[in-house]
């Protein structure tokens, strides 16, 4: 599937950070906290497609991990925000 990349972990980490960064912006600028895991697909799918076509497999893995963690944490994140009000 992918060739050995000497900076595999670094690229994966950057991919995760990239998704988290965009999602944090989406949540606080557009107040989409309850559905950010769905909204993020509008960004993650084309970005993933671009990374796949450009053979940036490690970055693609990071983007996927970041999107999945957002999905998993989304409900809890909403609970956290509700508790502040």
């Amino acid at each position: 599937m992918s060739q050995n990349n000497p900076n595999e972990l670094g690229q994966i980490f950057l991919g995760i950070l990239e998704v988290f960064g965009v999602n944090i912006l989406l949540m606080f600028l557009m107040f989409t906290i309850p559905i950010v895991s769905i909204i993020q697909l509008a960004y993650v799918i084309p970005r993933g497609n671009y990374l796949f076509k450009n053979q940036q497999q490690a970055r693609l893995k990071g983007t996927t991990i970041g999107a999945v963690i957002t999905f998993l944490l989304n409900g809890g994140c909403w609970l956290a925000v509700m508790s502040w009000h």
Partner: protein, 251 residues
Amino acid sequence: VAFPVYIWIGPLQIHPHFLFEAIAYAIAFRLVLRGVRHDAIPLSQRTSIIVGGIVGALVGAKLLVLFQHLDLLWQDWHQLLWLLVQGKTVVGALLGGLIGVELTKKWIGVTQSTGDVFVYPLIVGTAIGRIGCFLTGLSDRTYGTATALPWGINFGDGIARHPTQLYEITFLLGLLLVLKLREKRIRQNGDRFKIFLMAYLGFRFLIDFIKPEFRPLLGLSAIQIASLLGILYYRHDLKRLIQMKPGHYIS
């Protein structure tokens, strides 16, 4: 104690489920990275397997939530929708992750067992996550049935209930201890994962009898049925693993 038990970090009031879930993922991820340092599998393949597992875990966790609360479909579909966004099940995540890993291995051409490196991160991560479930209380829907036992917990509805989240943490810590103590007897590559998965699924099959769940088939909940199917998947290894007979070194 009033549930949910919020955690204060400076001026911020944090919901316990979010906090402990985030800590669980971070620590589990860190432990996986530490484990893969001594891996026989090339890093690129290992990370592909992790991605396959994580995607499978998400799908499995959400699908099993849907089946577990299928009764809400005609009672309160709003709540079912909310549970789909917020809820997830560990059993669904484990089985979905297993399927995701096996499909990825087939795709990238890995034939050896790869699960051992995930065992301790999964145990530690699940135990930490369950602290958040316990501190969340009723809205987490992981509590047990009513009990007159002295350690029953009132999560806020005036009924003393089995603290099934604490039972699970105790079980996981016990399993961690047993696996560490018997490490030298687990010789076949992949056996540590099989022991973990079967022990956990067996525990969940039993503990879910003292949870107030919807039981559509033979008095069993969707999680119990999924647990049985998971154990059946490894039925050929069951006898050998229970006896912990030494196998062959593969790696």
